[in-house]
């Protein structure tokens, strides 16, 4: 039974990735724009007149990128490349491989996104759980509707507000960038603290904007859990309030939250991209923006493919680990 489920999930993953890659390939081909031609025009404009034979270059470039082959042939080559994680060369910064550009940017994005998301997840879940558990705390009852309204505002707009008040007006934080211009990238405390300092505002905007999502979900689940028989049983046994809260209520209510976490990965990725752009943070978002500005299709292909793969994989991993977290789903399948 589990094997059938596993194969089904893997087929789904494969189809999602192939569909995305197919859209990724064909949509830019519908445009009449030719990034190679643009690159060559730019090259000939920036060098001495007559020194660049455009016709010859066009042929060479087309051959290099495989653009002279029939479209279907190109499509299958491309699919093969993508599935073996060969992301080709960037057109704009030609000798650089797209994979290297992505490897340089990915740690920034992952570091920022994963940390901020986990903080938001923990804070939001605790907040949501406490609003149900501690009806006597007035401030809490007021707080949750407010953070829920925040969740309606996209990450990057909250980022802009934070920049406006805390960086531009207050001057407490830098307006943007991943680290100070004067800092020297190295694995020492000075640089790391500088990076952390620069990541506070972008991180905070993700936390502020997504905390409400987790608080709302947790609140709903806690209300359901509170009506369960085992809660009455725990109370009848005379368990301490704290133990009832953590071991009985939260432990059961948190499971759907974890599923939500996987479903939100896609949204988080795209949201984080715009946060990075707003803050000029040197991650995947800024890389994508550059690629889009110069219409560097291979870089766009590569970034989009890697992000989609990351989202699909994280959902798969969560799906596969879920039975370990929740024994009930295991017994269903047996």
């Amino acid at each position: 039974m589990y094997l059938i489920y596993l194969t089904k999930r893997l087929i789904m993953l494969f189809l999602v990735v192939v569909t995305a890659a197919t859209l990724n390939f064909f949509i830019p081909r519908l445009s009449d724009k030719n990034p190679v031609l643009e690159k060559i025009t730019e090259m000939s404009e920036s060098s001495a007149p007559g020194s660049v034979n455009m016709q010859e270059l066009l042929v060479i470039f087309n051959e290099r990128f495989g653009l002279d082959k029939p479209l279907m042939q190109q499509y299958f080559d491309y699919l093969g490349d993508m599935l073996t994680l060969d992301l080709n060369y960037s057109i704009t910064s030609y000798p650089t491989r797209v994979a290297d550009m992505i490897l340089g940017a990915l740690p920034w994005t992952l570091g920022l996104m994963v940390t901020a998301t986990l903080i938001a997840f923990l804070l939001g879940s605790v907040l949501g759980a406490l609003t149900v558990w501690r009806k006597d705390m007035r401030l809490l009852q007021f707080f949750v509707p407010v953070v829920m309204v925040f969740s309606a505002i996209p990450f990057y707009l909250i980022g802009l507000i934070l920049i406006y008040f805390l960086a531009y007006k207050g001057g407490y934080f830098p307006i943007g960038g991943g680290y100070s211009l004067t800092a020297f990238p190295a694995w020492d405390w000075d640089f790391i603290s500088d990076v952390l300092y620069h990541s506070i505002l972008p991180g905070a905007s993700i936390v502020v904007a997504s905390i409400g999502i987790w608080a709302l979900g947790m609140r709903g689940m806690m209300v359901t859990v509170q009506g369960e028989d085992y809660m009455n049983f725990a109370e009848a046994k005379g368990l301490k309030n704290r133990r009832m809260f953590l071991r009985y209520a939260v432990r059961n209510a948190i499971l759907p939250q974890v599923t939500q976490l996987a479903l939100f990965m896609g949204q988080l990725v795209t949201g984080a991209i715009l946060v990075e752009i707003v803050f000029g943070y040197p991650g995947m978002g800024s890389l994508l923006l550059q690629a889009v500005d110069y219409l560097d299709y291979y870089t766009i292909y590569g970034i989009v493919f890697v992000l989609i793969l990351a989202v699909a994989l994280s959902m798969l991993i969560l799906d596969l680990f879920y039975p370990l977290l929740d024994p009930r789903t295991r017994s269903h399948r047996a």
């Binding site: 789904m12 519908l30 309606a152 707009l157 707003v278 889009v292 992000l307």
Partner: protein
């Protein structure tokens, strides 16, 4: 007097009263409608005072702070920022409405067809929706928009966004129709000899109306969200003064470093009012569509 007549005379004059009472019990719907209504009214009234051409570059002295002539000042390229806000708000709302309407039309039809006919039709539609829902929409939209960036118009932008706006409505409406398909009145209609389309349009759609409206608002706010995201990346219509493009220019021409607060605040404020308003309408409609969530009067 028959009972039915009594009920109808009772209800007719109180319709407005009832609506008022309902809005009082559902404050989030009321506040949401007020916020979005305020924005639309602002844009409508504003258009009597400023011309659309004033939202284009070089229509005013560049980098002017707010004053009597330029209510919201101007940016470094000489756009009258009041005009940008007036027309940008309208363009954004219009885009949301177009994309949302197309999304709900296509998504709704797919949902109805899929749930009503079942079998292989259902399996194929449901599976494609599943696959497309997993793909982060904004990334696909980025590819589409970057391919068609030059010469893009706000209407084209709306169509691009609509290309992915049908997924969620399709999923939601399918789930609702699946529940309703086996209701007693549908069986009655079927036995009376009604065809599938008759049943869908005369039995199911009217009963799903509150739900369809709620789905529509969700689709509109998702479309606005996506469009502003794309525009903030510079992928929107280049010659239209949309709110997202305004944010893009503001970031790209470093309004923060130039300390031009009048360039920064208005588009952000307008967007926040719009997003929060749509969110509140959504929450309110949710309550309308799912009476179980309704508070006791």
């Amino acid at each position: 007097m028959t009972l039915a007549a009594m009920v109808s005379t009772e209800r007719q004059p109180k319709k407005l009263e009832y609506l008022k009472g309902y809005l009082a019990r559902n404050p989030s719907l009321a506040i949401g409608i007020f916020m979005v209504g305020f924005l639309i009214l602002f844009s409508l009234l504003g258009s009597f005072f400023v011309d659309e051409r004033m939202a284009q570059p070089l229509s005013a002295l560049p980098s002017q702070p707010p004053g009597l002539n330029l209510l919201f000042g101007s940016d470094t390229q000489g756009r009258n920022l009041f005009a940008v806000l007036v027309y940008g708000t309208w363009l954004t709302v219009r885009l949301g409405l177009i994309a949302g309407a197309i999304g709900i039309l296509i998504g709704g039809s797919l949902g109805f067809i899929s749930a009503y006919f079942g079998g292989w039709t259902d399996r194929i539609i449901n599976f494609s929706t599943d696959v497309l829902l997993t793909v982060p929409a904004l990334l696909i939209l980025v590819i589409i928009a970057s391919a068609f960036k030059d010469g893009m118009t706000p209407t084209m932008m709306a169509l691009i966004i609509a290309a992915l706006a049908w997924r969620r409505p399709a999923r939601q409406i399918r789930a609702q129709v699946l529940v309703m398909r086996n209701a007693g009145y549908v069986d009655t209609a079927r036995i009376s000899g009604a065809g599938p389309f008759e049943i869908i349009f005369f039995e199911l759609v009217p009963n799903l109306m509150p739900y369809l409206v709620a789905s529509f608002v969700t689709a509109v706010s998702a479309a606005v969200l996506a469009s502003i995201g794309l525009e903030a990346m510079g992928l929107g219509p280049q010659n239209a003064p949309t709110l997202g493009m305004s944010i893009y220019y503001m970031m790209n021409f470093s309004a923060f470093l130039l300390k031009m607060w009048w360039w920064i605040i208005p588009p952000i404020a307008a967007l926040i009012i719009l997003f929060v308003g749509l969110y509140l309408i959504n929450t309110g409609l949710d309550e309308l569509a799912n009476p179980r969530l309704r508070r006791r009067a």
